[in-house]
Symmetry: C2
Subunit: 365 residues, 2 copies
């Protein structure tokens, strides 16, 4: 079993090179939620597992679905199949999934006592199945491509823990954000440390890069985003620099294009960009200081293949001839996305992107 990573052994290191803003032969590509319900082979494994949580909690099955999109599409990175709510579950909140309704917690967290009593999980104990999943993925990947470990951002995890389920308006979380900011801060501090230990354990088990999903950062007001979400992600990056030195971190705050420059100052290696921000504008905003990952509209995968090819060309052109672009969607791939349309996207990136890197190499020469 592989438990540490020899980066030089990777057969395809485009993703890590782009993340370090080094030259590559073509733009590396992976898709958020690439192991998912749009794939028939995923649905088969899911049926075998019985339910979503069992699939997450069985390392061999998690590794099986993690590798499916690598086998089918030759993506340049694998991302551990898991869920962002594993940490609150390990804290004892009682995670469960209701078909069609999404995740819910039996014990939401709203009072000072609730927060004070939350444990910081030991990843090798309460989250052992995730860390074993990382090991199983690394072993199965056999150095074909890098493995990305991930977690939810402290703020995004806090919203689920406070609301007790997904939410459209975050009324309970916002009641704390506005009415009891010190309480929310205490919860975020606990989550920041929990996420740091969790991601460091994933890195120790072999994850080559770490990604933090701040799905609900965009629901906050500007001050709230800076103080509660961005600041806790900044502390997280600082902690990871100590706990998992040298492992690059990608931050993704959906709906937060206005904060890209501030996010780039956290010490992260890369930033996710959603489709509402032009990726060329994003590149100018961060001035080449970090890599950018994105930003194809997931719903554009419902357009015909010829259109998808044109849109890939536009995304590549918007980013331009410079290192540091990782092709991805602007959010997770949607269920019912036609598999042949994903193939068209992959083919277009493979065929159209080398020209931009040849140009970059020429400019550098």
């Amino acid at each position: 079993m592989i438990t540490t990573t020899d980066k030089t052994a990777l057969l395809n290191d485009r993703f890590l090179r782009a993340l370090a803003r080094q030259p590559v032969d073509r733009t590396p590509l992976w898709l958020m939620r690439q192991a998912g319900r749009y794939l028939p082979e995923y649905r088969a494994t899911r049926a075998k597992a019985g339910d979503f949580l069992t699939l997450c909690k069985t390392p061999e099955l998690a590794a099986e679905v993690t590798l499916q999109p690598i086998d089918r599409y030759r993506f340049d990175a694998a991302i551990l199949f898991s869920d962002i709510l594993t940490i609150p579950d390990a804290m004892g909140l009682g995670l469960h999934f209701t078909e069609g309704e999404g995740p819910a917690f039996r014990n939401p967290v709203r009072t000072a006592d609730d927060i004070a009593q939350l444990p910081i999980p030991d990843p090798e104990v309460e989250l052992r199945y995730v860390i074993d999943g990382v090991r199983a993925c690394k072993s199965a990947l056999a150095n074909r491509v890098p493995l990305i470990g991930f977690a939810g951002s402290p703020w995004t995890l806090a919203t689920y823990m406070i609301e007790g389920a997904g939410s459209k308006d975050f009324r309970h979380s916002k009641a704390l954000r506005y009415g009891a900011p010190a309480l929310l801060k205490a919860l975020l501090d606990k989550l920041t440390e929990s996420v740091a230990l969790y991601l460091a354990a994933q890195a120790a088990a072999g994850a080559d890069a770490l990604m933090i999903f701040d799905t609900w950062g965009g629901a906050l007001d500007q001050d709230g985003y800076r103080y509660f979400s961005l600041a806790s992600m900044g502390r997280l990056v600082d902690r990871l620099a100590v706990l998992a030195p040298g492992v690059p971190v990608i931050l993704f705050s959906k709906g937060c294009g206005q904060f890209l420059l501030e996010l780039s100052g956290t010490g992260c290696a890369g930033l996710g960009v959603d489709w509402t921000t032009n990726i060329g504008d994003a590149r100018h905003m961060v001035g080449g200081s970090v890599a950018l990952q994105g930003n194809f509209d997931p719903a554009a995968l419902f357009a015909p293949p010829a259109t998808i090819r044109e849109l890939v060309a536009k995304t590549l052109d918007d980013y331009g001839a410079a290192p540091g672009h990782i092709f991805n969607l602007g959010h997770g791939i949607l269920t019912n996305t036609p598999v042949e349309n994903v193939a068209a996207l992959v083919e277009a990136v493979h065929e159209l992107s080398p020209a931009y890197h040849a140009a970059a190499a020429d400019e550098a020469a």
Copy 2:
């Protein structure tokens, strides 16, 4: 029955003065969806009506709920109680509401034939109940405050018509946006003309200002927003300048803070601002060329009254001592918002805002 408006007869014209960026004694205030389920008197009228659509389609009942928040909170403007989906309903799509699931259409629109066959409704015929509702509101208001008429933006209406219901990902609308842009454009053109005639009829019946809700503009990519949503709203403002000259128009694209400057160039009188953009930043972005309406986080109304007062102070301070601010939420008021918290908001705006206008008057002197 009053069918035309004598603006000079209005007993409270703060809202219209602020919209024209003229001096006022205090910041005018109204709330999006102020006539709604958070009010016990609304729930009583709704129960009397039986269901939501009957309430919308009965002018006397619509006027009754329109005036309820004016009576309770002395808001500075009334907004017609109605729904943005009246136009698609009048086009024959078969609007219905399912409890808990929101609006849906029996006949969604997706093909060139579907779009070609859509009629442009005559507001005084197929939407007569709305125009009668405007007349009933004007009569009941008896010039206490101005009445705002409204409609959904062409893009936002198109998303419901194409999806056949509310959507999280807009996959069918985006399939047209990317794969068949000429078809989407044809639909938007028809909607733009329908909305223009509809809003002009509301103005002719007495509406003192017109607001366009682009609830789903923020779901689009940047090019898509400019070409499909912003451009159709721009044409709409141009048409209204002909069909309803002198009646000010407010545009509100939720999640589109990055486009405020471009929106300000459409010829509208004011722009809605959601809570994710700082309203002081917004003011600097538009350089005083339009009025700004917003941008209190609706979820902040779940914080304690003392916090609400502090947040009102911050919003007023962010906007600063200048004319052209209409205090509002950054989106519709949430169900279950405590009525006493709304009272705290109203009291805070009434008590804290005059200082900013005295300062503005001093600066002007």
